[in-house]
């Protein structure tokens, strides 16, 4: 017993040190993440404050032209990226179109963010894939969908038959298959 312990004591000490180090590094990463979140809050606060000031100061000159950016573009691209990376381009556009079709359907939230963050609606939102590295094609596909192209011709559901565990979705009528996804009404 003693011999055994003697042989492994060094390893145990190493384990202990590495364990403590890993906890510290985990905490560090967590803190860094938290810090970046706090950044968002601070920025929001600043933005709101500065608008307040501008509204109070009535003699602000309004700018002739503001460069227009669709606030939903990146969010939509992120979901397309998380759900359909590696799918054909048209399949990516189709995912974007399904989200847009939902906003126009009475049975779903009316905004793109509402549809995307509906609990359990998209796998990539629940498992964090939505934050994966954004591929340029996803952004292009999101633009295409926002511009009104709809490869699904009005579908509001889709699933990957190899991955879904959800029995309810199978009861929906499949309209077309693009890549690995089935699109349904």
């Amino acid at each position: 017993m003693a011999k055994l312990l003697k042989r492994y004591s060094l390893i145990i000490v190493f384990l202990l040190i590495s364990f403590i180090l890993s906890i510290y590094s985990a905490k560090l990463i967590y803190d860094i993440k938290r810090a970046s979140y706090e950044n968002i809050e601070k920025k929001l606060e600043k933005a709101l404050e500065s608008t307040d000031k501008e509204v109070l100061n009535e003699f602000v000159e309004t700018q002739g032209s503001t460069s227009y950016q669709n606030k939903d573009l990146y969010l939509l691209a992120r979901v397309i990226n998380g759900e359909a990376r590696g799918e054909p381009y048209i399949g990516q556009v189709a995912i974007g179109a399904v989200i847009i079709n939902r906003t126009k359907h009475p049975g779903f939230p009316k905004t793109i963010s509402g549809v995307i963050y509906q609990p359990g609606a998209f796998t990539c939102v629940s498992d964090g894939q939505i934050n994966a590295k954004l591929e340029p094609t996803a952004l292009k596909a999101a633009r295409e969908a926002l511009n009104g192209w709809d490869p699904t011709n009005g579908c509001i559901y889709y699933y990957n038959p190899a991955k879904t565990t959800n029995k309810w979705i199978w009861s929906r009528k499949v309209m077309l298959v693009i890549g690995k996804h089935r699109f349904a009404k």
Binding site: A2, S9, I23, P88, T165, M175, I178, F183, K185
Partner: protein, 466 residues
């Protein structure tokens, strides 16, 4: 002897020291692990509580809003004052949308399965809003509209009762929300935890024989039942459709043609995926042909364009030539947008100088070769028909008097524009500037009512409306 004995003793002592230290280290590890575990557990419990609180808030808010809807609708039934009813209807609209928003936040496995409840809430709100607008323009509710409202109020009663029961059970702690996770939960736990989900789905079942609602709003059931006005009657089959597609793309033959399916509710559409050249596998063209009439509804060529060599003017020239070649006469360009090395140009139909905004075709031109890489005529085929355009009942001068004095008008024309409800109205279109920003103001050419205002955004990358 004594030295040897001393050494032995020393070794004994060393052994026990080592033993103690090892034990201490092990204990230390255990304590650290335990502390870490407790910390983790606390963190998890914190998050869980936080989420549960959010869900409870969403749920109880929703119950409150549904109760309000029920009360407001019954008041509207009793009230005899038009203005009072208009106010009540706007209140219903506000409550219904808030209720729907909260419903969509609930952690129900298959939140989308609550489609019917959500649809009910949307339509109650939408219908109330259109009724309030109707009342404000001086028209009372018709008898069918009143009956519809009565039916909807009955659903609100039922829904509110069911939700109340659930609310009581939840506040007594008898029901718990399930965790919204897809992986990692065993089936058994899922059933146990999702009592609330199954109870909510039971509430949903109450909407089985929910009526079809047709009214003047964007979420009315007639929107999804519109039939295309611009398609010829003749039906085509899959093979014919394939030939039409290849003709449209000016392809003699293609290496791979995949059929993706027949889809669409307003227009039945065959979709094909075409790879013109096997060697350039990346380039696929997806194209959709209507079953009725055999027309190309939309097309996407995924060829990535390289840096621009032509300007927007040349792109417009190409697009116009393309449209004429494909049989779209009298089209004028309106908005355009440069993105991804392409220009997306919107064309609308023009009849005797009147702009027909519903008949819209979108063309995407690659700015490197000038090739057409995208086409969408869904809107055009849905609405295009030979219209009888009446003479305006009010003059341009009268219409000009109806818009804001501060609006600096730069051009005026006649236009037919689509409304949210899918109807079309005949208007004067005033384009101009206000406070440095561009707007389009639409005044009904028959009644003088202001139908819509759009902000026009002009920047280096394009002109678009909002």
């Amino acid at each position: 002897m004594s030295i040897l004995g001393g050494y032995k003793e020393f070794r004994e002592r060393l052994k026990s020291v080592r033993l103690w230290s090892v034990m201490a280290i092990t204990l230390g590890i255990l304590v650290i692990v335990a502390l870490w575990g407790v910390n983790q557990y606390k963190g998890k419990a914190n998050y869980h509580n936080y989420l549960t609180n959010m869900w409870h808030r969403a749920f109880f808010d929703m119950v409150g809003y549904v109760q309000n809807i029920q009360a407001l609708l019954s008041k509207a039934e009793v009230s005899g004052d038009d203005r009072q009813r208009a106010v009540l209807y706007t209140e219903v609209w506000r409550n219904a949308f808030a209720a729907q928003e909260n419903l969509s936040q609930l952690p129900i496995e298959n939140n989308v399965a609550l489609e019917k409840t959500a649809k009910y809430l949307t339509q109650v709100g939408d219908l109330s809003f259109s009724l309030s607008k109707q009342l404000m323009s001086g028209k009372k509710e018709t008898l069918p509209q009143k009956q519809q409202l009565k039916k909807l109020r009955a659903y609100a009663d039922k829904l509110s009762n069911n939700l109340n029961e659930l609310a009581i059970e939840i506040s007594q702690g008898r029901l718990r929300w399930g965790e919204v996770r897809v992986v990692g939960t065993s089936r058994f736990r899922r059933i146990a935890q999702n009592v609330t989900s199954s109870r909510m789905l039971a509430v949903e079942a109450g909407f089985k024989d929910y009526p079809t609602l047709i009214y003047d709003g964007p979420f009315s059931d007639h929107i999804s039942r519109q039939t295309p006005k611009g398609l010829p009657e003749k039906l085509v089959n899959k093979e014919q459709a394939k030939k039409i597609a290849l003709d449209f793309l000016n392809l003699e033959r293609a290496d791979i043609v995949n059929y993706l399916g027949l889809s669409g509710d307003r227009i039945k559409i065959y979709t094909f995926e075409i790879i013109p050249d096997r060697k350039i596998r990346d380039r696929t063209i997806t194209i959709a042909i209507s079953k009725k009439g055999g027309k190309i509804i939309w097309m996407i060529d995924n060829r990535a364009s390289s840096s621009p060599k032509i300007g927007v003017a040349k792109a417009k020239e190409n697009a116009k030539k393309f449209l004429i070649e494909k049989g779209f006469a009298n089209m004028i360009d309106t908005f355009y947008l440069k993105q991804d090395n392409t220009a997306l140009i919107n064309y609308i139909y023009q009849q005797n100088g009147v702009k027909i905004y519903p008949d819209m075709v979108k063309v995407r031109v690659a700015l490197d070769t000038g090739q057409i890489v995208g086409f969408d005529a869904t809107a055009y085929y849905m609405s295009h028909t030979s219209r009888k355009i009446p003479e305006p009942a009010i003059s341009e001068k009268q219409a000009r008097g109806l818009i804001s004095k501060n609006f600096d008008v730069q051009s005026v024309s006649l236009a037919i524009i689509p409304l949210d409800s899918g109807k079309e109205v005949f208007t004067y279109e005033f384009l101009g500037k206000y406070d440095g920003k561009y707007f389009a103001d639409y005044i009904n050419a028959i009644t003088g009512k202001e139908e819509n205002i759009l902000e026009i955004i002009k920047d280096p990358n394009g002109i678009l409306s909002m």
